[in-house]
């Protein structure tokens, strides 16, 4: 008999030697177990609901009324003290009232007998034998009793000292956390207890180690412990099935690339992206056989993917009379999921790895392709052999179990095998990393873990007085100068503090800083955008020319497989919490641009199409670059005139910078030096000179997650003053030079600057810098070319105050001219223009004339039809 399922010896594995064969699952090899049990030949015996399974399956006690299987066979010495017998010995009958549910996620083969340390030298482990008998599960150092006690103690006593996250919303932080969760279970009736492994570790490091190393043994023990505890506390509660423990957040978070043979059969947490899910696979857990002669029925549990068909009916002693009855067999759900490394984890220049994950029972259909997830799971190796029920009636649904260490076979006839194992992962817990992005804040903290050292370096860096300058010069070092622009972008990378005013009905306040760069072509705007896009983890880069409104927002499409409508998100939604870089902003079509209005102030995106009406979060900072319409920046025109963007959109940018050629000798020299050195410096020199991109990235990530500065009293005063000052400047000339939007910008910038310093308080220096930067940007973009004054109305209304004044003057002059002409109800357009030109001292352009006509038309004074102008009055 081929019995290739049994695993090779596992002794070495337990000595903590990591290089031991992968095949050594903590599961005891069945063949050896058998050897211990009955020393019969290696044949798989028909096992009527084997007691081993009972003790193994998470909640051992089964309702005998439900399953007509005979009770465990006589207590062998090995059976002594197994979980099942213990539980049975206890008087808590209520536990037994709830059916257990199999945990295929732990592998169906965990028929691990416990071994007496004294009697079995193979089980040699690093625990000193007690005076009495000390039982551990074969091949591990797990003693079921101790383990259970420890876990119960953990449940009863653990109080999370660091609990602040809204994850635990509604729980009393000073009470034992998991007891409250149990209470929740008794109310809600969802029998799943998620256990944070890190909390286990902080509570009992030894227990944690066991959990990581022997999950297949420890988790069922945890299950038992929980159920005992639960039914003791809430004896009356009714659950669908017994509580299952789902550990997550195991410290050994690995990326897929670092998985290796040492991790086999260990509890690991890896993250990745779902790329495919299979259909639901019914997996047989228990086969139902009925004798065709006497109708006696029997059940056979799937044992390592194989069902041993009873050869003889026990009732009538006929041979080969038993037939499989599909309808009465028990199945569990199973799904195959393929995950792929997330792009962030990958080294450059390699392709992502994929791994197969099996999801069982209620984890089935929890994830969809495209989701980013963290999975806590066991890494298992499964064979490629097929075990089939040798029965003529068997249909195509043949149960297949998880087996370890059986290599692929070349063919059933040949006995040489392909020496490759097939690996897969059994999922115990999924955690979608992007789940919360659609509602509320997301915890970047959970994705980005910083080592102590790293935090230390970052804090040291933050303590330096010139950190702001340092960081800004580290930004895109290949781009020369433009210090203020880099500083602006730096502040954009950090962002302001998020405030929630939804209580008062205003919703979220925008915390992101939007920046527009405009200037001559070839002033490395695109390069700057590319750099930012490469720097931030969640950045998107689009070009205005190539993107449509749909590409930016979201579109609905029909999934070809499921025929479901699926919302596909576009660049703006994808860069939620990141930066959306839009190049050639000016080339964007109007309809596309209109989408940005909502995004750039409300930070949401409303969608109503194909029956889907929703509002998506798009808390993205926009970094846009625009070229002037006339290919060269015309200094005689305003920003609006140069780039021809609607002022409604422009006013949503906090900072608008001009990137122009300064044309000054000293600058040229520095620029030349910079460029030349770019071409001959070696990589090392470059490294020395500037901060590493990785450090910068971490610095930003750290600040964004952990630092939430608030305004101090002085800072608020300074802001108020700054705003009042800004208003004053304009009021002298009858212009408005600042709007509340500018004040908000100032606040955001000041907060971002405080973040740069790792300061929890916004102080006056932050406000000073924010003011300076804002002023610089305004000086560049909002200076009225006619007067030389800074005029915010250029950006807010699209026209400088002087220009508006001029327009009115022309309109009045025109009106006078028409009135002077006396009663002529209709005039030639060209004639009128010439007359006005002749009359006026200043040059009157056609546009200006049109404007004047239009404003008069608005007054209902005249109307323009084609080339004639008619008076209305």
């Amino acid at each position: 008999m081929s019995s290739p399922t049994s695993t090779p010896g596992r002794k070495r594995g337990r000595d903590g030697n990591p290089a031991t064969p992968s095949s050594e699952g903590p599961t005891s090899p069945p063949s050896q177990r058998r050897r211990g049990q009955d020393s019969s030949n290696g044949d798989l015996m028909p096992m009527p609901t084997s007691p081993a399974t009972d003790m193994l399956s998470p909640a051992a006690p089964q309702d005998t009324s439900l399953f007509s299987s005979p009770r465990p066979h006589p207590l062998s010495p090995l059976m002594y003290g197994t979980p099942s017998s213990r539980v049975e010995g206890t008087p808590r009958s209520s536990v037994r009232g709830t059916p257990a549910r199999q945990r295929p996620d732990l592998g169906s083969v965990r028929k691990a007998p416990q071994v007496d340390l004294h009697s079995d030298a193979d089980g040699a482990v690093a625990s000193e034998p007690n005076a009495g008998q000390r039982l551990v599960i074969w091949g591990t150092d797990v003693n079921v009793g101790t383990c259970k006690e420890k876990f119960q103690r953990f449940l009863q006593r653990f109080i999370d000292p660091t609990a602040t996250e809204d994850e635990n919303a509604g729980l009393d932080l000073n009470e034992p956390l998991y007891m409250q969760k149990l209470e929740e279970i008794s109310v809600v009736g969802d029998p799943v207890l998620n256990v944070n492994c890190l909390q286990v570790q902080s509570f009992d490091a030894e227990l944690y180690r066991q959990l990581i190393c022997y999950p297949q043994e420890v988790i069922p023990t945890f299950d038992m412990a929980v159920n005992e505890l639960f039914f003791e506390r809430f004896p009356d509660s009714i659950l669908e099935y017994q509580i299952q423990v789902r550990p997550y957040n195991a410290l050994k978070t690995r990326n897929m690339r670092s998985l290796n043979p040492e991790d086999i059969d260990q509890l690991i947490t890896i993250s990745g992206m779902v790329i495919r899910t299979s259909q639901l696979i019914p997996e047989m857990q228990e086969a139902f056989f009925q004798c065709q002669v006497c109708a006696y029925s029997t059940r056979v549990e799937v044992d390592r993917g194989r069902i041993a068909e009873p050869a003889v009916c026990r009732h009538c002693n006929n041979t080969h009379s038993l037939a499989l009855v599909h309808n009465r067999s028990a199945f569990s759900d199973k799904q195959m999921i393929k995950i792929q490394e997330s792009p962030e984890d990958m080294p450059a220049g390699q392709t992502p790895h994929t791994t197969i994950v099996y999801a069982h029972n209620d984890l089935v259909d929890k994830v969809q392709p495209g989701d980013r997830i963290n999975i806590t799971e066991l890494l298992l190796i499964s064979p490629r052999l097929h075990f089939t029920v040798q029965h003529p009636n068997s249909l195509s649904h043949v149960p297949a179990g998880i087996y370890r260490a059986v290599p692929m076979r070349v063919s059933p006839i040949q006995s040489n095998v392909k020496s490759v194992y097939k690996t897969h992962i059994d999922a115990i817990h999924f955690r979608k990393t992007d789940e919360k992005r659609l509602h509320g804040l997301d915890e970047d903290a959970e994705q980005k873990l910083f080592t102590e050292d790293r935090v230390q370096t970052l804090k040291e860096l933050a303590a330096k007085p010139d950190v702001y300058e340092r960081l800004s010069s580290a930004l895109a070092p290949s781009i020369y100068e433009h210090e203020d622009i880099k500083k602006g972008i730096l502040l954009q990378l950090f962002g302001g503090t998020r405030k929630d005013f939804s209580q008062t009905g205003r919703g979220n306040f925008r915390a992101e800083v939007n920046i527009l760069l405009c200037g001559d072509p070839g002033t490395s705007k695109s390069q700057l955008l590319q750099y930012v896009f490469n720097l931030v983890p969640r950045g998107q880069y689009t070009s205005g020319k190539g993107s449509s409104a749909v590409g930016l927002t979201a579109y609905v499409m029909k999934d070809p497989e499921t025929r479901q409508l699926v919302l596909q998100t576009g660049a703006l939604v994808l860069s939620d919490n990141g930066i959306c870089c839009i190049d050639e902003f000016d080339k964007m079509s109007d309809s596309t641009r209109s989408v940005l209005h909502e995004v750039m102030e409300q930070q949401t995106l409303s969608i109503a199409k194909a029956g889907i009406i929703c509002q998506l979060n798009a808390r993205t900072a926009v970094l846009a670059a625009a070229n002037p319409v006339e290919s060269q920046w015309n200094p005689k025109k305003t920003t609006i005139e140069n780039i021809q963007l609607p002022h409604t959109l422009l006013s949503r940018f906090d900072l608008i910078f001009l990137m122009l050629d300064p044309q000054d000798e000293a600058y040229d020299r520095r620029l030349a030096h910079h460029l030349v050195s770019l071409y001959y410096q070696s990589e090392e020199q470059i490294e020395e000179e500037f901060l590493d991109m990785a450090v910068l990235r971490d610095y930003i990530a750290y600040a964004r997650t952990y630092i939430n500065p608030r305004l101090s009293e002085e800072a608020s005063q300074a802001l108020i003053e700054a705003y009042v000052d800004m208003r004053k400047i304009g009021s002298g000339r009858g212009m408005v030079s600042a709007y509340p939007r500018q004040l908000e910008s100032l606040i955001r910038l000041a907060e971002a600057h405080a973040k740069v310093r790792f300061s929890e308080k916004v102080e006056t220096i932050d406000v000073e810098e924010a003011k300076r930067l804002h002023r610089e940007a305004l000086k560049q973009s909002a200076t009225d070319p006619r007067t030389g004054f800074v005029d915010i109305s250029i950006l807010t209304t699209g026209m400088s105050a002087t220009a508006r004044k001029r327009k009115e003057e022309v309109a009045q002059a025109l009106k006078k001219l028409i009135q002077a002409k006396g009663k002529t109800p209709a005039m030639k357009y060209q004639q009128l223009l010439d007359d006005l030109r002749g009359q006026s001292e200043t040059a009157i352009t056609k546009e200006l004339f049109d404007e004047a006509l239009r404003s008069l038309a608005d007054e209902d004074y005249l109307t323009v039809t084609g080339k004639t102008v008619r008076l209305l009055a």
Binding site: P8, S23, R276, S415, Y421, A672
Partner: protein
């Protein structure tokens, strides 16, 4: 030399021997010793030429489990796999257990004891490798010559092997003649596969071997890497020395799977038939190669010594001394080709030796994409021109930018999740491949979505030297190093680092005749070889700028700006620095001199003045 043939013909014996010897001492690190052994052997003079090459010898002439080499590009990386590094077998009759080694093998021996405690699981990585895309015909011609010469000296490893050598040289000659007369745009050489049994070719057609360029042929290979796989990157070019495994058992497995498993075992449904086919294709078609040693190919020019230039100072100095004269010859030749335009020829040389030598954050340094505008549309000038370049560079690709091509071709590699592989595209090219974009084929019409994406990809390639591979849910950026030359009539719609308008000095009454004359012009192969060596060497030279030169360049720049700030921008300085660098290198100078800088300035000025003349004419300005 019997020992030689032992390690070439039967490398597994060496491995087994070392494995057996290590058994007494488990910590001996025999794996490293094996690798060391083969490395040492291959270092011996000419040793690597004795190893038969999978590129040149048809698969069916190679002995299974022998040492072979393969010059290839890593096209895709599959998932790592766990295998039995060591296992025990039991003889059913005697019950004797023997420990065996599973490294460098695909299939285990009979009677594996799965319960053995001595089983060691190890990990290895699989790369899907294809021959270097766009290799030019002269390439394999030279290789097979040198190979034929060296192989004459030794005993033929297998009896069935003898006829091949002769055939191969014939084939080589055939290649050469094809190279000259070939009208086909892609100009791919019919490599040795042409003589392979037709059945193989036929079966290859239904199984897509995933070559980046259309019309490519040649063996592809699954290379199993045992150590240090993180050091390899996608699109690396390597010469792999490894043990060939073509066990028919591997194919049997695939067949059996197809037939029964998908129905029998629902859990297998994840691995679609498609995936099966891609990941375990028949070994007769896609052989497995168990890597012992891999050598990165920095230049992929068979004419150059395989060692790096630094190690081979004699070769370097002799080449350097000749460089100026070879350059002059090449310039004359190219001037002739470019209808007597010496300036364009000069720029063409610079373009041919350009190379991305570093990256500063996102900015690739040293790239020099060229737009040759003003190409005569008539008489297939561009194609003739490409065929001439093809004779000079090791690998190249001609992409006719017709509307149909742009709308239909797959330029960007895309991940196919069904088959779980990276479907290649034409832009998955090895470093320093010469990409010729022929825009003269472009006519008016509409680009569809694919077309727009393709044009964007080409634009990205030129400006940032990167290709964003499409992974469906996200894009991944792969840096590349491809020399792009765009031939167009007017200014190209794609960006470029420098545009030069072709000014024909000669106006031959019959273009067709003129061009065919160039082609027939007897460029002796020794001269061509000189050109080829020259281009490859110039590209690899180191380069520096002294402090004084830095100063003087700065002064120059400031002066230029003083006279007319509009005339010179930072962009221009960027370009001039690249031109100066390439100009110095083309003359064999490894540091910038005053003369080269002035010359660079001069030719750039000439080029720009020529462009200004044409600016008003073509009106394709932004």
């Amino acid at each position: 030399m019997p020992s030689t043939h032992d390690w070439i013909n039967n490398p597994l014996d060496v491995v087994e021997g070392m494995f057996a010897a290590s058994q007494s001492n488990p910590k001996s690190g025999w794996e490293a010793k094996v690798v060391e052994f083969f490395k040492d052997r291959l270092k011996e003079k000419d040793a690597h030429t004795w190893v038969p090459s999978l590129n040149d010898v048809p698969l069916h002439y190679l002995k299974p489990n022998s040492l072979v080499k393969f010059r290839c590009l890593i096209q895709d990386m599959f998932d790592p796999e766990f295998f039995m590094g060591a296992y025990e077998t039991v003889d059913p009759s005697t019950n004797a257990k023997v420990l065996r080694c599973g490294r460098y093998k695909d299939v285990t021996e009979c009677g594996v004891d799965f319960n053995s405690r001595n089983t060691v699981t190890a990990e290895r990585q699989t790369f899907y490798c294809v021959p270097i895309p766009g290799e030019n015909p002269w390439f394999s011609l030279i290789l097979s010559h040198s190979y034929a010469c060296s192989s004459q000296a030794r005993v033929v490893p297998s009896t069935s092997y003898a006829p091949t050598r002769q055939k191969r040289t014939e084939d080589g000659q055939m290649c050469a003649s094809q190279g000259h007369t070939e009208q086909h745009g892609n100009g791919d050489c019919k490599r040795q596969e042409t003589e392979a049994p037709s059945s193989q070719t036929a079966s290859a057609s239904h199984l897509d071997l995933n070559f980046p360029l259309p019309g490519e042929k040649g063996p592809s290979c699954l290379v199993k890497v045992y150590e240090d796989w993180d050091s390899f990157k996608l699109n690396d070019t390597l010469e792999v020395f490894g043990i060939l495994s073509v066990s028919p058992a591997l194919s049997a497995l695939a067949d059996e799977k197809d037939a029964s498993s998908s129905i029998l075992d629902p859990t297998e449904s994840m691995e679609t038939a498609e995936e099966q086919r891609v990941h375990s294709p028949p070994a007769s078609l896609v052989p497995r190669l168990h890597m012992l040693y891999a050598r990165p190919l920095p230049h992929n020019n068979p004419l150059l010594p395989s060692a790096t230039l630094e190690d081979n100072s004699a070769f370097l100095s002799s080449t350097l001394s000749e460089m100026a004269s070879v350059r002059a010859e090449l310039l004359t030749y190219l001037t002739h080709v470019l209808l007597g335009d010496a300036l364009a020829a000069e720029y063409l040389i610079l373009h041919l030796i350009s190379n991305v030598y570093a990256r500063r954050d996102v900015l690739p340094l040293g790239k020099f994409a060229m737009n040759l505008s003003g190409c005569p549309a008539a008489a297939l000038y561009t194609q003739r021109f490409y065929q001439i370049i093809q004779q000079l560079v090791p690998s190249s690709f001609y992409l006719g930018m017709s509307l149909q091509n742009m709308n239909q071709m797959r330029l960007v590699p895309k991940k196919d999740y069904v088959a779980n592989r990276l479907v290649s595209g034409a832009l998955q090219l090895a470093r320093n491949t010469f990409l010729f974009l022929d825009e003269t084929h472009l006519e008016q019409g509409q680009l569809d979505t694919t077309g727009v994406r393709n044009v964007t990809a080409l634009g990205n390639l030129i400006s940032w030297q990167k290709v964003d591979y499409d992974f469906n849910y996200h894009q991944m950026e792969f840096p590349c190093n491809i020399n792009v030359l765009i031939a167009s009539e007017g200014r190209s719609l794609l960006p470029s680092d420098c545009q030069i308008h072709l000014q024909s000095q000669v106006s031959p009454p019959n273009m067709e005749e003129y061009l065919s004359n160039i082609q027939l012009h007897p460029q002796t192969s020794s001269q061509l070889n000189k050109f080829r060596i020259y281009l490859s060497v110039a590209r690899q030279l180191d380069y520096s700028i002294s402090d004084e030169m830095t100063k003087s360049v700065e002064d120059d720049f400031v002066d230029m700006r003083k006279d007319d700030p509009q005339s010179v921008s930072a962009e221009d300085l960027h370009r001039m620095l690249v031109v100066a660098r390439l100009l110095s290198l083309s003359l064999g100078q490894t540091s910038l001199t005053r003369d080269s800088w002035l010359r660079a300035k001069h030719i750039d000025m000439l080029r720009r003045s020529r462009m200004e003349q044409h600016q008003c004419v073509n009106g394709n300005e932004p």
